[in-house]
């Protein structure tokens, strides 16, 4: 970057303020528009990386997720911050997490597909919990009798799990491994 130091500082501060005021991750394309004249994507990205370094020894970090860049608290301090919060984050049942896992790894899937894998019925409120959370959505319909809805995961799920893409999900264990002898794995 061939900018004078004070311009770099000003740009970094503006990026910082913008990211700190947005409740959602901000894509680079959007950040560029704040500058007059508009900065190119590469410059913005480099400034963000410098900013990321500036913050690296703090209780807060700048990260890149599916929806763009955002600031978030580090896990070590979140525990302490949670101490002063009256509300506890919701806990999700195993049924919900298994359903989410099936949708995440096998998408797009119908409710019937989920039931086949889990061996039990999947209730409407269960799916609605995940939909209301913004983690899954109907992405289409399977063209079979009844036209069942096909579910897929959303960008918000990735954002909420700190991931940039579905490929960053923990890989599935190969079939049959770690099964039968859980102690051994």
């Amino acid at each position: 970057m061939n900018f004078p130091q004070e311009e770099i500082t000003a740009a970094k501060q503006l990026l910082e303020a913008a990211l700190l005021s947005s409740p959602e991750p901000v894509p680079v394309a959007q950040l560029r528009r704040m500058f007059d004249p508009e900065l190119d994507a590469e410059t913005v990205r480099r400034l963000l990386e410098v900013l990321q370094e500036d913050w690296q020894d703090r209780s807060v970090e700048l990260v890149q997720v599916a929806g763009g860049w955002r600031f978030q608290t580090r896990p070590e301090v979140q525990e302490k911050i949670a101490r002063m919060m009256p509300e506890k984050p919701p806990r999700y049942s195993r049924a919900i997490m298994e359903t989410l896992a099936i949708i995440a790894y096998r998408q797009p899937v119908t409710r019937g597909d989920i039931e086949d894998i889990r061996g039990v019925g999947v209730s409407t409120p269960l799916l609605r919990t995940l939909e209301t959370r913004g983690w899954i959505e109907v992405v289409g319909y399977r063209e079979v009798p009844g036209r069942p809805a096909l579910y897929g995961t959303t960008a918000m799920l990735l954002d909420d799990l700190n991931l940039r893409s579905l490929q960053e999900l923990p890989p599935l264990e190969p079939l049959g491994e770690g099964v039968g002898f859980p102690e051994a794995s």
Partner: protein, 275 residues
């Protein structure tokens, strides 16, 4: 206790299991679940596949070589205990029991000599496939659960910004409203009986308007609600709105004597434990 323990013993004659390559010696005895704990025990399973996986694990059985007869026997004993305890039996468990029995019976029948590659013929194959797939998903769910999560392990930062400059309020169009309503309908599967027509809507609008007026002024004379110059359809709709409000016990109409003016007022609050 002995009876129950016997009922749920783990009768494995041959040492099939090997842990870390070593022949399995001591059989875990923790399969026995006291009946009073069964309810809790069952609650901790997500379904029949989960229970089967538990049985297989607790016996350290190789999932790829399940001794089907024993497993079926054990599973059926669980189902029997559940029935005994008059617990509500999930249909899925019974279906799984039927599957196990079917596999067991097919394995007990004399079979023609089978080539080892003839996997389709092994009645356990489908069950194994499902168990393996379910186990895989269970582990994946566990890992998802362990991932750092927004609101739990970390929180997204957001500082305050003057709303008038920065944050723009969401805009809504009539189309958005219609779409939202359609979603409500689609989900509630409200059929045409509950359809709200244009006419009903205008009745609703008048209902709100009347309520608002009555809130400002305790009593309103009936005719005041009919502004001069309104068209007949509007007057009719307004009248229907009044009737609706009366029907829904939201307002009351009173008259001191015959032919005296009609007064409308909000329904008096029901006597509550006040003062």
């Amino acid at each position: 206790m002995n009876d129950a323990a016997d009922l749920l013993e783990i009768p494995l004659a041959e040492p099939i299991a090997r842990v870390n390559g070593e022949p399995f010696v001591g059989m875990p005895q923790d399969l026995y679940i006291p009946p009073e704990a069964l309810e809790v025990f069952l609650d901790s399973f997500e379904g029949p596949l989960d229970l089967l996986l538990y049985l297989i694990r607790k016996n350290s059985l190789d999932i790829l070589d399940i001794p089907m007869a024993e497993l079926t026997r054990q599973y059926m004993e669980y189902v029997e205990v559940m029935r005994h305890r008059r617990l509500e039996l999930a249909a899925e468990y019974l279906v799984m029991a039927a599957v196990l029995i079917e596999i067991k019976s097919r394995m007990l029948l004399p079979r023609p000599v089978m080539t080892p590659a003839d996997e389709e013929a092994d009645p356990r194959a489908e069950l194994m496939r499902r168990l393996l797939e379910y186990e895989q998903i269970k582990q994946a769910a566990q890992r998802l659960e362990e991932l750092p999560r927004n609101g739990r392990e970390f929180a997204v930062l957001q500082v305050w910004m003057d709303e008038t400059v920065g944050q723009r309020l969401p805009q809504v169009s009539t189309q958005d409203l219609l779409e939202a309503w359609k979603q409500v309908l689609a989900r509630a599967r409200i059929n045409q009986h509950h359809r709200v027509t244009r006419e009903q809507l205008s009745v609703r609008e008048h209902m709100t308007r009347i309520l608002r007026r009555l809130r400002e002024k305790n009593f309103v004379e009936f005719h005041e609600l009919f502004e001069t110059g309104v068209t007949i359809p509007v007057a009719v709709v307004n009248f229907i709105a009044i009737l609706e409000l009366v029907k829904e016990s939201l307002i009351q109409v009173s008259q001191t004597e015959a032919c005296a003016p009609l007064y409308l007022s909000l329904v008096e609050p029901v006597a509550e434990l006040t003062s």
